[in-house]
Symmetry: C2
């Protein structure tokens, strides 16, 4: 069963890992957000891609909540000593990723091909496709004006309210993304921030393609990143509210209505199921917390089983 | 007393450190070879500059003989895992240097200015000037053909005999180098490889400027890197022989005749003093081995005192 999963950072990455664990090798393709990519110290950093890559390689640092396990910080400390901006911390092992990627892209190779070479080096059978090869940069408007996403997300620690979001750059999907969506028998929208993780992917031509697949009868299953009204990680809850949405599974379902054909919400949000169903979405109420590898596999299996139901 | 020292890697760097230790701050300027600079993993690596910089910052790894003290190797191991060429080992702290430098140069700043910012961050009062801002690459011809310098020096561990040396690139000195040479009251040619460390500096217009200074009565003192017929470090001895020179203090003095006005040779080579004097060079025979900081300061003082003699 060919499955395409859309993912941002942690939540989407966890479900992607669960899907990779339960599907036969080669059946899964992950499309990751590139809107939070950033250039640091002359190197291209791709936080969502790398979260998924490290997760699928079994190297994600769950304790810290980002980056590679067993990190050291020698390079970053050295850069700080040289007066480089140091609020965006990168570990030494992580720097190897950014250095190898940047060098290969500078040689003229496409980002999609370059990151696939990194994934393969880490033994990852699942292609993790950047949503686009051209640079896309998410920007958020706060009361202080437009900010680059990482300025808001890391430097200001998601403090300011977000009033507006935009995606600067060329959102054209790559041939690899088009092929994967075209071939998909199930499409999963992971439990990532719908505004700034899934939002950038859907801001481009991919959205219409996914809608077309849903209309053609392919299940498009979204998993709520909001559980009990809050985001398990990150600012999705406050961002939904400041942008005029409801911070709830129902609020997320509304955002995906017209695109998703089915929706998964947590058992703690079971009372919202009728409202989600009223949007025309099939619903699954289940435990969506992925506390460990077993939890990730369990949710992945539940989502796939639900997707396959008539 | 304004002193300009020409330096390559270890030997020249050690003497430069000794001079910096005994001269008032601001009196010394070091001009370093850039012919062994190289691009690794998309980053500009400047081995001779960095040897001098780490030496003057008290961070040179004397045990290893290159690089920054207390190094770790996480980035390099990660790059190797991604399939990057790994024979040119770079430590994590060292990577901070290459990353910060490359990022700043890519912003359009001149290499001389960029490396000065790094030196200042490490508390180094002495300007360490690259011999040129444009890329210069030393290449050596062996029986297998022309090789990039680091391919010969690091990858092949200086195994093949060197038949010919050339310097590809634009050897134009920077304004900072011209000013330093113009203002110099003493010029010291450090005990570095005369072919591939001092050679690139002298291959450009700097040579004629130095000759002019010498003719004008400014002492130009060269210190022999060959002691008892051998190089303390590196392939200078074998390279001298394979290029048709003599591997001796006298052989080095011959290479510098017409440029240097004075020559320092080690006590073990005292019998060569008449031959060196016969070249028209003033001579100093002294202990040139710099085993520690005291040894470096001692040789620096001896060289300066010798330079100041009528």
């Amino acid at each position: 069963m060919r499955v395409v999963a859309l993912a941002g950072g942690t939540g989407g990455a966890k479900l992607a890992e669960g899907l990779a664990a339960v599907l036969p090798p080669g059946d899964l393709t992950v499309i990751v957000n590139t809107g939070d990519d950033t250039e640091r110290h002359g190197l291209l950093v791709m936080p969502d891609h790398d979260a998924v890559m490290y997760m699928l390689a079994g190297r994600f640092d769950f304790e810290r909540g980002w980056g590679h396990v067993d990190e050291t910080w020698t390079v970053m400390d050295g850069l700080a000593e040289y007066g480089e901006e140091a609020w965006f911390r990168l570990g030494d092992r992580d720097f190897a990723t950014h250095i190898a990627r940047s060098a290969r892209i500078r040689e003229g190779r496409a980002p999609t091909e370059v990151v696939r070479s990194l994934q393969e080096a880490l033994g990852i059978a699942t292609p993790i496709l950047p949503m686009a090869d051209a640079a896309v940069r998410t920007q958020v408007r706060t009361d202080e004006g437009w900010l680059d996403f990482q300025e808001y997300f890391v430097h200001l620690r998601q403090g300011p309210d977000v009033r507006e979001v935009r995606f600067a750059g060329d959102l054209s999907p790559t041939p690899q993304v088009l092929d994967a969506v075209e071939a998909a028998e199930v499409i999963v929208i992971g439990p990532s921030n719908p505004i700034v993780s899934i939002g950038p992917i859907l801001a481009g031509p991919i959205r219409a393609l996914l809608e077309g697949r849903g209309t053609a009868g392919i299940p498009v299953v979204a998993v709520s990143p909001i559980v009990g009204g809050v985001a398990l990680k990150g600012p999705a809850d406050r961002m939904l509210v400041s942008l005029g949405h409801e911070s709830s599974a129902r609020g997320v379902a509304r955002l995906y209505s017209g695109l998703a054909t089915a929706f998964v919400l947590d058992t703690v949000d079971a009372t919202q199921e009728p409202d989600v169903a009223a949007l025309g979405l099939r619903t699954l109420v289940t435990d969506t917390i992925m506390a460990d590898a077993a939890g990730r596999a369990r949710l992945a299996l539940a989502v796939l089983e639900f997707a396959g139901r008539p």
